[in-house]
Symmetry: C2
Subunit: 555 residues, 2 copies
């Protein structure tokens, strides 16, 4: 204690004696405090949120201000920076800001020079809208006008004024423009002319600077947050299921191996002969990092069940993987899954939870991403907002698999794939049911033949079907798949035997049925499918920042 006190004293002394040697914090010219926003908006805008957070979290003054001062510098408040969304995001589209000073930092989308004025559209990513900035030859920094090109980053300062153009309510009369980072107009890949989605995938590091991908990123973010809000508000606990798994519970056919055996120990790449092997020439897994074969997870469900069997209701939200050689617009090798698991619940509870969840998150983005959704409605898929409103407002249809088969057979429609009890429903069937037969309403189909469903699903009393459900939506088809889990040890073991699965591998999963087993149910939702459904974006590679598909893991 004495030593500690002495050291503290020494530290204090050091700092008190040598304040000159402490570097004064360098101020970045581009992060200086912005001008204050008008009072009426302050309460609802994003502005001051950080400060509010800081105040919330430190309501009491520091208990030792004197020593704190003496002991060194303390961290100041987080920067207060006004964003375009703060100005234009309100219902009045910025009208309340007219006459106020503002500094905007962002990237130039377009620059149109007219005889006496130049219009520069600046976007800071906080919303779809640009800030239209009006420059005249009197504007400070106007001599740099030639470098104000698409893609450049700038700081513009001026006064908000009513806009005479019809496209926006307000614009910024610029008194000063500062070039932050130039963008060579001959080499910047994303020029004003519309670039194809295929091309934009080759510049995935720059595509968030386009309207479509900026809007996608914001809606994707809102969907993720709404997911957390929904489950948290309902008492579910987020559980991080493992990404690397060495259990044999899932078929390894479509799994990626995770290994350190292929490390480039030799110059020029890993020599096959250097890979540790057993006497009979097989890969010696005992020398791998985990001492056995390890894979990337295809689902967190089995792990999730363990926590549901202790905490009652849990959900996972994490990446999952398929080493499937599917080069389609519907498949990714790496995608995010949401997998809730409910204890003391049956299939009806599961269906109700899935429906409530979907309605909640769709309503959330309709209310919180209006501008971006208007963009998708206009440019990506006309009528998508109406379709989503239907999802929120209409009850979901549900019917049994048997009835679905009867409906399809009775439709007399020619399908590519056969329809027959016992065969799985294909995408064309699912889309027919939700899009045509029920006119765009989401449909839940339940009680599928056990042969086409997973081993862990609970057998129904008929001995032929299991308590499984798929939630279908228009255009996407299956969005959610779930089931009540088989909680009866004898049924589960018998099913594993029937399928020639090794019971020993499932020892811990079976333990859940040995010790305090409870009826439970859950579902899985491919997050990217949800983003597709909500935005109308066709290709799944365009609803995730950096898609991983066969032959490509760029960036």
């Amino acid at each position: 204690m004495a030593a500690a006190a002495a050291a503290a004293a020494a530290a204090t002394r050091l700092l008190r004696l040598a304040p000159r040697r402490l570097p004064s914090p360098k101020t970045c010219p581009f992060s200086a405090l912005p001008l204050r926003p008008p009072a009426p908006l302050a309460a609802t805008s994003r502005w001051r949120r950080f400060c509010a957070a800081a105040q919330d979290s430190a309501p009491a003054p520091p208990k030792t201000p004197a020593s704190a001062e003496a002991a060194g510098e303390t961290v100041g408040e987080f920067r207060r920076r006004t964003r375009v969304a703060d100005v234009k995001g309100g219902g009045d589209e910025g009208a309340a800001w007219v006459g106020r000073q503002l500094a905007v930092r962002g990237w130039v989308r377009t620059c149109r020079a007219q005889r006496t004025v130049t219009f520069v559209e600046v976007n800071d990513g906080s919303c779809l809208s640009n800030m239209q900035c009006v420059l005249t030859p009197d504007t400070e920094g106007y001599d740099q006008i030639d470098s104000i090109t698409t893609g450049a980053s700038v700081l513009v300062e001026g006064v908000i004024a009513s806009s005479q153009g019809g496209k926006q309510k307000v614009e910024l009369k610029v008194s000063k423009i500062t070039m932050i980072g130039e963008s060579d107009p001959t080499s910047f890949p994303i020029q004003k002319k519309r670039a194809s989605r295929e091309f934009l995938r080759t510049v995935a590091h720059l595509r968030p600077r386009t309207n479509t991908f900026g809007a996608m990123a914001r809606v994707r973010n809102a969907l993720a947050y709404a997911t957390h809000k929904f489950f948290q508000d309902n008492g579910f606990v987020w559980v991080s299921s493992p990404i690397i798994t060495a259990s044999d519970c899932e078929g390894a056919g479509e799994q990626f191996y995770v290994t350190t055996l292929l490390s480039n120990s030799a110059e020029g790449g890993c020599l096959v002969n250097n890979i540790p092997s057993t006497k009979d020439g097989r890969v010696d897994w005992s020398q791998d990092f985990f001492c056995k074969p390890a894979f990337l997870t295809v689902s967190g469900q089995l792990n999730g069940e363990t926590y549901a069997s202790a905490l009652s209701d849990i959900y996972t939200f994490g990446p999952t993987f398929r080493a499937e050689n599917s080069n389609t617009s519907r498949h990714l090798a790496e995608f995010w899954m949401i997998e809730p698991e409910l204890a003391f619940a049956d299939l009806n509870d599961d269906m109700a939870c899935a429906s409530s969840y979907l309605q909640y998150v769709v309503k959330y983005i309709l209310e919180n991403c209006k501008e971006d959704m208007d963009f998708f409605n206009t440019w990506i898929e006309k009528g998508i907002i109406d379709r989503l409103n239907d999802v929120v407002e209409k009850n979901f249809v549900h019917l049994s698999y048997s009835d679905a088969v009867e409906l399809l057979v009775g439709s007399k429609k020619k399908f590519e794939f056969p329809v027959k009890w016992g065969l799985d429903l294909q995408s064309e069937h699912e889309r027919y049911i939700t899009e045509v037969a029920f006119g765009g309403r989401p449909v839940i189909i339940r009680d599928y033949p056990k042969e086409i469903k997973a081993f862990y699903m609970r057998q129904n009393d008929d001995g032929k079907t299991v308590a499984a459900m798929d939630l279908l939506v228009p255009r996407v088809g299956e969005l959610i798949g779930g089931s009540q889990r088989e909680e009866r040890l004898d049924y589960l073991e018998a099913r594993l035997d029937e399928l020639n699965l090794n019971k020993d591998s499932y020892w811990w999963y079976l333990d859940l049925r040995r010790f305090g087993s409870v009826p439970h149910a859950g579902f899985g939702l491919g997050f990217e499918r949800l983003v597709q459904f909500v935005t109308g974006i066709d290709n799944i590679r365009d609803v995730i920042p950096f898609p991983r598909v066969p032959g490509s893991a760029e960036f």
Copy 2:
């Protein structure tokens, strides 16, 4: 359109004609509606949240009730289930519930038979507290008393009464107990006697049923949600950075390979001779899934910078990996990272953001996880609540690396590792600074020698240091590491050359400096370190559900 209408009519007809064939939903006996909670608590308890959500999200009545009825069954409301936390979580510890009926579903923690009554402690995972259930020989189901053992799952119904014991305010006078799932007392691994943490790792599927791991899971969940809340409230966009990466941007030494080349094509395991190879005997990556070597990510930062260069402020929250052979209590092969990235920001902004973040999440769990935190304060680390209150209330110290070195040298303390300008600070040094020199206050050290920091950190004007910062906290040491990024293309390229790194691999990262470069900064936080810091749990393997470490990826 005519075809669609006809099909819809056919579908409706089918269902109208055949309502008998639609299976009526089977009701799970354990998920039936519970008894209503007392009115005073309803507004603040978790009860009805689901229903509230459902109502929120579907305020308008279905527009086509008639056809909805005709078209099939619709999904009902999500189950309303009262949890122990709903009863005991309020400030009155359940006093308002006295006299009310209640059904509790959960797992038996202990069962103590006395002469006339039997006390059964039931936990449902919603909170640390058990519901003490009082059984008498008159209780329906009392004949099953011998199977009411630790680990079994039960449904208990009865009336809430004031408890005469001092340990709880209320208890449940049980009128009926129903066995859901038995638990063989001779084989259930977690008996009442305290099991060691080491042992519990071998039953990671059951350990959430203990007090420590239940509390850990709830606090971990709260920290994750608080993280999202903080960044969302401040306008940051969550970006899912890729897990699989084929870019050479990070040193591959400590990375896991992700491959499909080792698939078990042969019976009995992968034959080394079957691994595709080039003429000179090296692994032929062109035949791998991604047509080149692919790895598990060690950081999402570089990808995060691309989105910050479009959306301004973003954060990642996802798993990251290290194939490091470190069998310590501080290292995991798979862990979760939070990496915000701020555009138009310098190191001071970064430090302020890190401080605000940390104070926010710590305050959040102190306010929202009181019971669990009391448990940690009593059983895991005495005084931890005071220590965390200090973090919330006191300003953080910050000083330069140079001053930190001077402080350590001046301390005259004998350290295991040498202290000298240019050498990295070791854990013992960091802990001395935060624990001893500044008496438990978090400390931010900034401006480190460039030789010991990463290539992307922004060079300071002195030419010797970079704008890096580490946030140190007592006991854990470095919790957060961040920096301002080098946004000047010429500086960054020169640094890559100095370090003999291949500029071509970084083409897209350099593009961010070519096209509209902006000053930006960010930090990384190991989520499990944060959970350790907040709970006081020593070993990092005990703050993640299923730890992955060298030699073990069980469950």
